[in-house]
């Protein structure tokens, strides 16, 4: 059991009710109208469970679920596990929740309707898609882009959940700073951090953490013990309710006083972080946020390292409506988008360092959700 007390945040309290789902459905219907879709089947398999959570507040367990959302009228949630029907009715605020054993036949039958489309078939098997197509008797129209367009801008409730997740990430990092001890295996510290977040309302974590004197990248945890002089690099990504409401924090801890070279490189990343965030506001092409970060790193002589495998991306969103912060993405930022901006980067002398913060884009700039300093934290 932990000897350092886990802080109690009392922050995880936002709920998704029928009014919130109505707001989301209105956005989806506006997008359907744009695309000429009269019936959208929002399908989730276990491989992509977050679409159905967004549209129905149903935490998928089992083989699949689908929400049939007409352009007008009541939506119907179908769940694929009969034994889970009662729970689905308790947790989803929708009026109509039903069990359907054969999702392929159901989807195919509904897709016989004119101007209908289905999302996320790519996250199911080829054979499932063939069965749906055979029952429908026609080529299937992919409605994924219709749904994604509606979900890019987070509602106030979604933003509140993401703020809660961000607070969990900050708390977890500071807790790790207290708990990290030479001799403790990586996986044990990860377990401590994860427990601190789950105890305070996280349901899952996209968690990466490595402790080396020279990290090549942030990886999954191993049984390697933490040692004096190690650099602990983290991507901490708690999810509230579902991965749609995730927030990521990237930071570095030095076990002992940080070497001058580490302080210098963290300074470069802090400058790149600031430059990337300064570019963030509604209307700015996403690629400019990437370019702004890379320009700082290049200015300091490390431009050749701004490519894989020395980095992966300069940021991204989470779950539904996700955006990739890549140089090729020219899509303009929109107010209400939630992103992590992270200039995480490998340097030849000190290895991979972590720096990244969660924001919500606004019309005039951004709301910074992270409350931590942009520095290397020293465990002394």
């Amino acid at each position: 059991m932990t000897s350092v007390a886990i802080p109690a945040l009392n922050a995880a309290s936002t709920r998704v009710d029928r009014a919130e789902l109505d707001l989301r459905h209105a956005a989806i219907r506006a997008s359907m109208s744009t695309d000429g879709v009269d019936l959208l089947l929002i399908y989730s398999s276990p491989m992509r469970n977050f679409d159905i959570h967004y549209a129905a507040n149903y935490d998928l367990i089992g083989r699949g679920a689908v929400l049939a959302l007409p352009i007008a009228g009541e939506p119907v949630l179908y769940v694929g596990e009969e034994w889970d029907l009662d729970r689905a009715r308790r947790t989803s605020p929708l009026a109509y929740v039903r069990f359907e054993a054969d999702m392929a036949t159901l989807c195919g039958t509904l897709l016989r309707a004119k101007n209908s489309a289905v999302t996320a078939l790519e996250w199911n098997s080829a054979d499932f898609a063939k069965r749906v197509r055979a029952v429908a008797g026609c080529e299937l129209r992919d409605g994924t882009a219709t749904l994604e367009r509606a979900a890019r801008r987070k509602t106030p409730v979604e933003q509140a959940l993401i703020r809660e997740a961000s607070a969990l990430a900050d708390m977890s990092f500071l807790y790790a700073l207290e708990k990290a001890t030479p001799g403790m295996p990586e996986f044990e510290l990860q377990a401590e951090m994860e427990y601190a977040m789950r105890k305070n309302g996280a349901v899952d974590n996209f968690g990466l953490f490595s402790a080396r004197k020279h990290n090549n990248a942030i990886n999954f945890v191993t049984d390697k013990p933490i040692e004096d002089g190690d650099l602990l690099i983290f991507e901490i990504t708690p999810a509230r309710l579902n991965r749609n409401y995730s927030a990521q924090l990237c930071r570095t801890i030095s076990m002992g006083p940080a070497r001058p070279a580490v302080l210098e490189k963290i300074g470069i990343l802090a400058e790149a972080q600031e430059a990337g965030l300064a570019a963030c506001k509604a209307g700015t092409p996403i690629s400019e946020v990437v370019d702004a970060q890379n320009a700082v790193i290049a200015k300091h002589g490390f431009g050749e390292y701004c490519v894989p495998p020395y980095m992966r991306a300069r940021g991204h969103g989470f779950g539904i409506g996700r955006q990739e912060l890549s140089a090729a993405n020219k899509r303009p930022l929109e107010a209400g988008m939630a992103l992590v901006v992270h200039p995480n980067q490998y340097f030849p002398d000190v290895g991979y360092l972590a720096m990244g913060e969660m924001i919500i884009v606004t019309e005039t700039g951004y709301e910074r959700l992270c409350t931590l300093d942009r520095k290397v934290y020293e465990k002394t």
Binding site: G62, E194, S326
Partner: protein, 377 residues
């Protein structure tokens, strides 16, 4: 039925512990695969796996697809094995530290996966060869035709070949499963001691998750069944209802069933049990005794078609996936000597409820607990 619930990312203790699964065991495994290929007249075998069904590629390479966006294809030939993994280049160096085959990365955000597979086909000189393919039906609709057109001479679909091989566990695999089962049972014990009125289901599940991760879980799933929920009807063998934790607060006196799925070094074990918050009544003790007796009876009758009409039960194979041969829908009648199985039982008697489930070894032709003796309520 399915209890499947994928995490955002599999991110627990990741390694290949060669003291538990030596390289000689891997060699024996690959020899068995090649023998099976020869038996089917195959020169090469391609195997596709994704995060939902990762057992085959894990069996061949020790790679567990950790993200839904990152499937993999493995190629086995008479003298080599290699893989094309849809992962980032940044991640590949780490992945190569714990898999036992060479691998090529194919960036998961690009569309270069089919081209990488094509290059591997060329490099391996597979043109005109007899190719087996496993997992075609798992591929996404857009990827499947792109991959299959790389084999203009056609392939022989061999779904089931690896699943059958995986069903027969080696001694090392049985030991890994025993360790996983021991850890799953330890989670049940610790969470039973931890449960108290006033705490939320989420807090209880968070603690169970913590205990599991501290014990070295690669992945873990915690599910519950509370007293206010419907029991599965007696005789039911498809629905043993566990579900994710909620914010509901436990009362000072209630029955709560806990299900733990624990993955250790890639291998899954399961355990379930009743927690009587505030202490068990005489009726509850009796119900739990009957439940464990029903569990023992079920273990003793594996492979037979008869079912006990008094209890509801769920039986399925375990290994590199949570639901292996015999699959849960096939039930206990499909069990064979040598299977490693999860057996879960639930009953209601005298107004009291009880659940009991463990991982068992069917080597002797009947189910025997992989670990210690059964516990009373």
């Amino acid at each position: 039925m399915s209890l499947l619930r994928l995490p955002i990312l599999i991110h627990g203790l990741t390694r290949w512990d060669k003291s538990l699964l030596p390289e000689s065991q891997v060699e024996q495994r690959l020899t068995r695969v090649r023998d099976a290929m020869r038996g089917r007249g195959l020169d090469a075998l391609w195997v596709y796996s994704n995060m939902e069904h990762d057992g085959n590629i894990a069996y061949l390479t020790n790679f567990h697809p950790f993200d839904p966006r990152m499937p993999g294809l493995a190629l086995v030939t008479p003298d080599a094995i290699e893989a094309v993994l849809k992962v980032s280049k940044r991640d590949l160096a780490f992945i190569l530290t714990h898999i036992w085959s060479p691998a090529e990365p194919s960036d998961f955000l690009s569309n270069e996966f089919p081209a990488q597979v094509a290059a591997t086909i060329e490099r391996a000189g597979l043109r005109g060869k007899r190719i087996g393919f496993s997992g075609r039906a798992l591929m996404p609709p857009a990827l499947e035709p792109q991959i299959m057109e790389l084999f203009p001479q056609g392939v022989t679909e061999v779904d089931g070949l690896l699943e059958d091989l995986r069903r027969h566990k080696s001694a090392a695999e049985r030991e890994l499963l025993r360790l996983a089962a021991e850890k799953a049972e330890a989670v049940i014990r610790e969470v039973t001691a931890f449960a108290a009125g006033g705490m939320s289901e989420n807090e209880l599940a968070a603690y169970a998750d913590y205990v599991a991760r501290k014990a070295g879980a690669l992945d873990v799933d915690i599910l519950l069944h509370a007293g206010f929920e419907k029991m599965p009807p007696p005789g039911e063998h498809e629905q043993l209802p566990f579900r994710p934790a909620s914010e509901r607060l436990l009362t000072g006196r209630e029955h709560l069933a806990v299900y733990v799925a624990f993955q250790f070094e890639g291998y899954w074990a399961e355990a379930s049990d009743s927690i009587y918050v505030g202490g068990a009544s005489a009726a509850e003790r009796e119900a739990h005794d009957r439940c464990t007796a029903a569990f023992a009876a079920l273990c003793g009758s594996l492979g037979t078609a008869g079912q006990d009409a008094v209890v509801s039960a769920w039986v399925h194979g375990l290994g590199l996936e949570r639901d292996e041969l015999p699959l849960s829908r096939q039930g206990k009648a499909a069990a064979q000597a040598g299977d490693i199985l999860a057996v879960h039982v639930a009953l209601e008697a005298g107004g009291a409820r009880a659940f009991y489930g463990r991982t068992i070894d069917g080597t002797a032709g009947r189910g025997v607990l992989l670990t210690s003796a059964m516990q009373s309520a």
